[in-house]
Symmetry: C2
Amino acid sequence: MTEIKPFNSTEYMNHISLDCVIFGFNNNELKVLLLHLKYSKENTLPGGFLKYDETLEQAAQRIVKERTGLDNLFLKQFKVFSDPERSRSNKAVMDGIIAGTIPDPSFFENRFITVGFYALVDFLKVKPTPDFYSDHCDWVSLNTELSMLLDHKQIIQEAIVTLRLQLNQQPIGLKLLPEKFTMPELQKLYETILGRDLDRRNFQRKMLNYNILDKLQERKTGGAHKSPYLYSFNVERYQEALKDGLSGIW
Amino acid sequence: MTEIKPFNSTEYMNHISLDCVIFGFNNNELKVLLLHLKYSKENTLPGGFLKYDETLEQAAQRIVKERTGLDNLFLKQFKVFSDPERSRSNKAVMDGIIAGTIPDPSFFENRFITVGFYALVDFLKVKPTPDFYSDHCDWVSLNTELSMLLDHKQIIQEAIVTLRLQLNQQPIGLKLLPEKFTMPELQKLYETILGRDLDRRNFQRKMLNYNILDKLQERKTGGAHKSPYLYSFNVERYQEALKDGLSGIW
DNA sequence: ATAATAATGTGTCGCTATGACACTAGGAAC
DNA sequence: GTTCCTAGTGTCATAGCGACACATTATTAT
């Protein structure tokens, strides 16, 4: 249970909610897109409820589109959070009721099981858009210490663990990086997700051996030092390689 | 939505159900524990609903215990199934209503999102126990072609895919095999899950290099040929090794 | 008994992937 | 130019892996 917006609760299924951990990569950092609630001043994940004719995946796409402007994103369920206490003492709901902005308080006071999704997006393509109940919507570095609504901090943690485990099975780089990128950028992404440094030369060798990158003629200019080459993913070969997983442990 | 037993629907959360794919390994085959419904003659996964004060994990333990007699099993969520059509035209419910055995049909006619769990159990320890609505509860080989309730066939398929992907991150062998087992048995388990043959000698070398097995003095007697040695898992070292995943791709 | 059969236990060889590491090249600041 | 920093490329030794051969032991057929 997360997002609060003016809505008709009869459109939505009771007891089931979704929360989306939207990952972006910028400035050599992994970031998540968070909302900041007007009344309770808490940070929340973009989330929402399930309509009667939707799958959870469709609901997640809808929710993510409202916050990012983007369609058809890479989204994956990773865990259901079902602690009976998780939606108790929901400060955001209390404040909303006091402010008179929640049309159907009894709906929000129910117990909700939430399905966690993570999304991988191209940072630069996102237009962060707050909803009615939040005063802003921003990218937040994972290093930042934040006060989060309910169990949302835990949800983010679990999303990262999942991301790390699936690093060789999911198109992490393809989805998180722009069309063209440099080898050092790709390496930084892997290092950030894994939480440790990798050897520059070994990383490059291994990556190139996967045969999933196209080396472009262009170099990235404007940097302060030697211009690195630009690469792009060969989507076909990448997808093919992922079927068996990118071999090896990083 | 799966298990139908005499119950008071007010004890349970609406719209949320669980289905458990209980894996066992016997006679060199992977098997799942299924119920066979009296009226509709369909096979179903053991499943049930969520009580108001339970987590999904607790509910899954409860459900699995009722069918196997076992406590504290290895259980993991793997996916939520949320197709709005999935619980439509539920033959089992229709037959139950006709037979007058469903106390609260309106509850069952609601839309249900189901959370898939898989369990890994020691085949020999399980006492398959049917519920009120099923005439028997049996182990069924995955090679068997069956008519299953609703989307239960798909749920089993997804469970297997998950099992395969997590083969190096989860204590598959430890949970599916008896205390003492032979190397060929362990190999067969891996081959069954992976769906392909492995080289006997390379398998043994790799397994032993993990340092997670204790070679016992005993040998398994009664077999038709040379007696194989018995092994058991060194639980401590196994758990330790799983933290980083058992390296390598099978 | 003896031989045939079949599965298990153990060892070798060559290749590849990997980790550790060093040198060269290019762009910016001075 | 010189300095500094980053990127591009190469080498070497080792561990792990796939492919493969031979000896051992238990049952079964004769």
